[in-house]
């Protein structure tokens, strides 16, 4: 493998995970506040974050719990909202080096989040398990710690600060997609198409009732299918 060693070890992963972890602090902080406000204890809130590690699914989950939803309803909602991870997980299987055995796959797949996926798939080379462990560590701790702080503190941060911190995660997304979109036209078109579909689904009456998870799946399938059909990648992931 011609992977650059230094950018594929545990510490490279840690370094790449820091901005994700910082971004997670504000989101999970909000989750902690909301969980406690919906009647859950601090420890239940933290337990949810440590076992789920997903934003949309958890927010929907505490909503369902406080609404007294059935187990079936909970299972279906989680499935739909989180199905996008299957796409990401599948996509990542094409970027893993041979250090990924079945045990590593069973462990590391737990840590695939939107942001972890985005950073891992943005690497120029195949990723190693060491790198993945590093990449997941800080976001996982950030997610758990943020939940704890949020749940305990209620609202320590003034609104002006928490409002400003909410945009962090999206700023990061933009920083991930814009540089490649600048260099490769097809990437730009696929991204624009996905954004347009997303806007349509959010602002068209009736369609705007679709769950967030479904919207992401529809956008991903349509825009990526469009890209694959009209701009097949010559020598795709090496």
């Amino acid at each position: 493998m011609e992977t650059a060693k230094s950018s594929n070890n545990f510490f490279a992963g840690i370094k790449d995970g820091i901005p994700i972890g910082l971004g997670y602090l504000s989101v999970s902080f909000t989750f902690g506040i909301m969980a406690v406000n919906s009647g859950l204890s601090v420890w239940i809130a933290v337990l949810i974050s440590m076992t789920n590690l997903t934003s949309a699914g958890q927010f929907a989950g505490i909503g369902l719990i406080s609404a007294g939803a059935s187990y079936i309803e909970m299972a279906l909602a989680q499935f739909v909202i989180n199905l996008r991870y299957s796409l990401m997980s599948l996509s990542l299987t094409q970027k893993t080096d041979n250090s990924f055995n079945i045990l590593q796959r069973l462990i590391l797949s737990f840590g695939i989040t939107d942001e972890v996926f985005a950073v891992a798939s943005g690497k120029a080379h195949d990723i190693s398990t060491k790198y993945m462990y590093g990449l997941i560590t800080v976001p996982y701790l950030g997610w758990a710690a943020g939940t704890l702080f949020g749940a305990i503190a209620g609202s320590i941060l003034p609104d002006s600060v928490s409002s400003a911190m909410n945009i962090a995660i999206y700023g990061m997304f933009l920083a991930i997609i814009i540089p490649p979109a600048k260099k490769a036209r097809p990437v730009l078109w696929v991204t624009i198409l996905s954004v347009v579909i997303s806007l349509l689904l959010h602002y068209t009456p009736y369609l705007n009732k679709l769950s967030e998870g479904f919207v992401i799946i529809i956008c991903a399938l349509t825009a990526s299918g469009f890209g694959a059909l009209f701009f097949p990648v010559k020598e795709a992931t090496k």
Binding site: P19, I20, L22, G23, I44, I48, T51, N52, L53, T54, G57, G61, L64, Y71, M74, Q78, N82, L83, L87, M88, S89, L90, S91, Q94, R105, L106, S109, I112, D114, A118, V119, S160, S163, A164, N166, I167, A168, I169, Y170, G171, M172, L174, A175, I176, P179, P186, V190, T191, S194, V195, S198, H202, C219, S224, G227, A228, P232, V233, A236, T237
Partner: protein, 104 residues
């Protein structure tokens, strides 16, 4: 009761992540699927960012300011952290200005 809810949440969330990883081990040969998977991250992130970014702060104006700053710095290929924090800063400043204007 609540523990069962949490167990279901965690179980389903893990399964949708784990199964594809555990099942697909070979490199995919089909160029269509390869290309498709190559585009997935961009499509996913694009749809997650818009329109959500506009409602992520307490006012549309501050969100627009934050978005503009993020796009500009991302275009200049600044690091993830720089882009994210500058965007937060732009939101903070904008909301501070809006509030100051409101006072008078």
């Amino acid at each position: 009761m609540i523990m069962i809810h949490i167990l279901i949440m965690a179980g389903i969330t893990y399964l949708v992540r784990m199964l594809p990883m555990a099942i697909f081990k070979k490199k995919i040969e089909s160029n269509f699927i390869k290309s498709f998977l190559y585009y997935v991250p961009f499509a996913v992130l694009g749809s997650m960012t818009f329109p959500a970014i506009f409602t992520s702060t307490s006012s549309l104006y501050s969100a627009i300011a934050g978005t503009a700053v993020a796009i500009l710095l991302a275009f200049k290929e600044k690091s993830l952290l720089t882009v994210a924090l500058s965007s937060c800063f732009a939101v903070y400043i904008t909301e501070w200005i809006l509030k100051s204007i409101d006072l008078f």
